[in-house]
Amino acid sequence: MSPQTLAFTVVMMALVTWIPRTLPISLLAGRKLPEIATQTLSHLPVAILAALLAVQIFAPGNKLSLSVSNPYIWAAILPALIAIKTRSLFLTVITGVSCLSLLRIFVF
């Protein structure tokens, strides 16, 4: 791929990323939406996070992997408990990263 084509591709990538990011809040804010729509929108943050997380842990690389040989499942248990117990972002991330690297060194 020539540098010109590459640059064009990256700029177009930015454009198709930017439009979905900015369009809804530019058009919707200040409008009175029906209650069912606002209610659904208010539930979206939790739903998006849960869906993203489920795919990352149970389907890494977008391939469903529900076996015991999936290290992410094992590595997610301890950080989940830490998150529920301490509610600290830092502790959760550190625990999870350590768990996965230890699992990779010793188990998988």
Binding site: T17, I48, R104
Partner: protein, 462 residues
């Protein structure tokens, strides 16, 4: 007097009432009982918004002398009193609330007419009900009597202004409510029940906004005293998660022989983790530009939902600020901003500095990774690829505040896996999030209807 009141125009239900209860809501305001009034006052306190159309009336059916419909004051020529004979005016205004000056003040000042000599002016007896600053029933029963003949001394613009204020403060519903007899039986009483129950249930989704205090510690925003500083501190965990991922991206770009300018440009203007890593893989595999752009679009389409879900909370912001905020919105900064704006939109400086901090870290990490790609060849080095997932775990745990949220998270997660298994790829997250959010919304509405029906079947709540 009672006949006069009966001819007063009845107010139409407000758009708010129609939106909430539909057209079948009784078009005239009616009485609610003492119990319901207390409950309403409590809810009003809890939610800070009054129930439209119903008034907090006193226990019924005590007949309360209704206020006389206000008479239009005559146009008053206000004279200047000579110093020898200053005439005092005493208007019982102590009960009136202190209000900011009206914009009309300037105009009023101009129409003061200066007469040659002081004169006594006859004013028609005006009886007005005091304003209702609090829902205490005793407050609005006090009536201010203005004496029949008022000698006006020093002309003051306050006089006219106070009359205006009182007119503004008399709610038309209140007058009618006081003159309406309590419906003994029949459809109107059922309407009353249903209205009260509907209002009770109408606040059902509100409990999300009032989570128990112990469930908030993670997502609790730092007090935005210094917006820029608090935003940077808030972004630190995201930055800690971004650094390994962006380094991994830089390494991947480096070992895939992507030129440095493209790597940097991508981190600066695309700024979306997973799609950048996928794009590097596609470029290295020699995919066509169209494939790469289309994949990026699909992978990042989920931002559409995030942006839409923030639109209501940030409706007070200018368009420029909203676009600036969402231009740098990623999954992680969205989660933080959504948590910070749960009660009200945070300071602009807080949000912008949060975004810019995370963005800078992302760019810096890509540069570091690209430079170090010869040293680190495995992007899974040290389990750093797991940092973002752990961040999602923590953010999700912080967002789940009710059992219904737990169900929502489970449903969205399971459907995401189902959609992945069905081969929907990157559309799976968007579809699963929509399925979960819509399912919970429908369930909540169903619960609301069931409770309303049960309450009506039991014959009311009073």
């Amino acid at each position: 007097m009672a006949r006069e009141e009966a001819t007063l125009p009845r107010p139409e239900p407000t758009p708010e009432v129609i939106a909430r209860y539909g057209r079948q809501f009784p078009s005239r305001p009616t009485f609610i009982t003492e119990t319901m009034a207390k409950g309403h006052a409590r809810r009003k306190h809890a939610h800070g918004k009054p129930f439209p159309g119903l008034t907090t009336a006193t226990p019924m059916p005590v007949a309360i002398p209704a206020p006389v419909p206000r008479a239009q004051p005559k146009i008053i020529d206000i004279g200047v009193a000579p110093e020898a004979n200053p005439i005092q005016i005493e208007v019982p205004i102590a009960k009136l609330p202190v209000l900011p000056p009206l914009p009309l003040l300037e105009e009023k000042r101009e129409i003061v007419i200066v007469a040659d000599e002081p004169k006594a002016i006859e004013v028609e007896p005006v009886t007005v009900a005091a304003p209702l600053p609090t829902p205490e029933p005793t407050e609005f029963r006090e009536v201010i009597e203005i004496p029949e003949v008022i000698d006006i001394g020093e002309p003051t613009i306050d006089m006219g202004r106070q009359i205006d204020l009182r007119e503004d403060y008399i709610e038309p519903e209140m007058k009618l409510a006081e003159s309406e007899p309590l419906p003994a039986r029949g459809p109107s009483r059922i309407f009353l029940y249903s209205a009260a129950i509907a209002h009770e249930l109408g606040s059902l989704p509100d409990y999300h906004e009032h989570p128990s205090p112990e469930s908030e510690s993670l997502i609790e925003a730092p007090a935005p005293v210094q917006g820029w500083k608090s935003g940077m501190i808030r972004a630190l965990p995201v930055a800690a998660g971004y650094l390994p991922i962006s380094i991994a991206f830089g390494v991947l770009a480096g070992i895939s022989n992507i030129p440095f300018f493209a790597t940097l440009l991508m981190s600066v203007i695309v700024y979306a983790g997973s799609s950048q890593i996928i794009a590097v893989g596609l470029i290295a595999a020699g995919a066509s530009p169209f494939t790469i752009i289309a994949t990026t679009f699909i992978v990042n389409l989920r931002h559409l939902l995030m942006s839409a879900s923030l639109s209501k909370r940030f409706s007070g912001w200018s368009l420029k600020d909203r676009i600036l905020m969402t231009s740098l919105m990623t999954d992680e900064t969205f989660a933080l901003i959504a948590a910070d704006s749960e009660k009200e939109a945070p300071l602009r400086a807080h949000v912008h500095s949060l975004n810019i901090t995370a963005w800078s870290i992302w760019i810096a990490g890509s540069i570091i990774g690209f430079s170090a790609c010869t040293a680190i060849t495995d992007p899974k080095f040290m389990g750093l690829d797991f940092a973002l997932s752990c961040m999602f775990i923590a953010l999700l745990v912080g967002q789940i505040k009710t059992p219904s949220h737990r169900g929502l998270a489970a449903l969205s997660g399971v459907s995401a896996l189902l959609f992945v298994a069905l081969g929907l790829g990157h559309g799976a997250v968007i579809l699963a999030a929509l399925v979960g959010a819509i399912a919970l919304t429908l369930r909540e509405r169903e619960i609301k209807r069931e409770m309303l029906r049960d309450a009506l079947n039991e014959g009311g709540i009073v």
